[in-house]
Subunit: 138 residues, 2 copies
Amino acid sequence: MQTTYRTRQRAVVLSFLINSGNCHTAEEIIKALEEKGETVSKATVYRSLELLVKSGDVSVFYSSRGESALYRYIGGHSDHFHLKCTQCGKTVCADCSFINSMQKHFYEHHGFNVSRQRTVIYGVCSDCSAPAIQPLSH
Amino acid sequence: MQTTYRTRQRAVVLSFLINSGNCHTAEEIIKALEEKGETVSKATVYRSLELLVKSGDVSVFYSSRGESALYRYIGGHSDHFHLKCTQCGKTVCADCSFINSMQKHFYEHHGFNVSRQRTVIYGVCSDCSAPAIQPLSH
DNA sequence: CTAAGTGCAAAATGTTTGCATACTT
DNA sequence: AAGTATGCAAACATTTTGCACTTAG
């Protein structure tokens, strides 16, 4: 088994995510660290994120092609998951226990253990499905 | 509103998906058409897929970064959605009406209209969560 | 000392775009 | 004719990789 060394760079990436508490793209993290004067190379940010995801401290969320993955520190945020609107592209984070029912169903009927953090629910958000006021097509 | 012309290329792409009935990456479609002797350029395949998705004949499914989007003809396959294993990477298509409950919940509690075709449930599949025989972690 | 991690720049991947040409209607 | 679509190659954006060097244990 491979042991992981503690490095300044990885600590910096993790503490950024911990302090923020929100979802961030790799690019955002890179820029933020740069502005803070922290020197962490782009490649290292990606590699650190990969390790942090493997270790379970951080979750990745792949929204859709052409957009970046979103990373987020998960210290107990077990009910958190994402609703992504296919019309406006916005992603809403929902903290809601319905995911428990989902987990139960998929485990019992499909032998499948749902990941609360990485699951993406696609659909149309309330803003975009507002009746009448919609723009006349695209 | 913009009218769409019927073209040989788009018909070819659509009929490939109809005949297959399965999910395919753009790359697969391009290769398959090439082998069939159909001449459709890569760019046109992408553009056709985009139009077909817009028209509702085809669904896209973005699995995760570094992998291609999956396209699929949806002629009434309304109960179809994807379970993706984060360990082995396999994607299982599930046809199951539980999605009705999901739809109800997200609509009632979040004003969000779930897309049956594009939603991705991430988790660990039964093969990968088989007890006892698992590798000793990482 | 050795395994693991870093930084850089270059590569890779999957998809999109500009533009001149060719279809559809 | 006017509006779309095509094909090609070049551009893109995000992420990954090779390699020589540094650091943690």
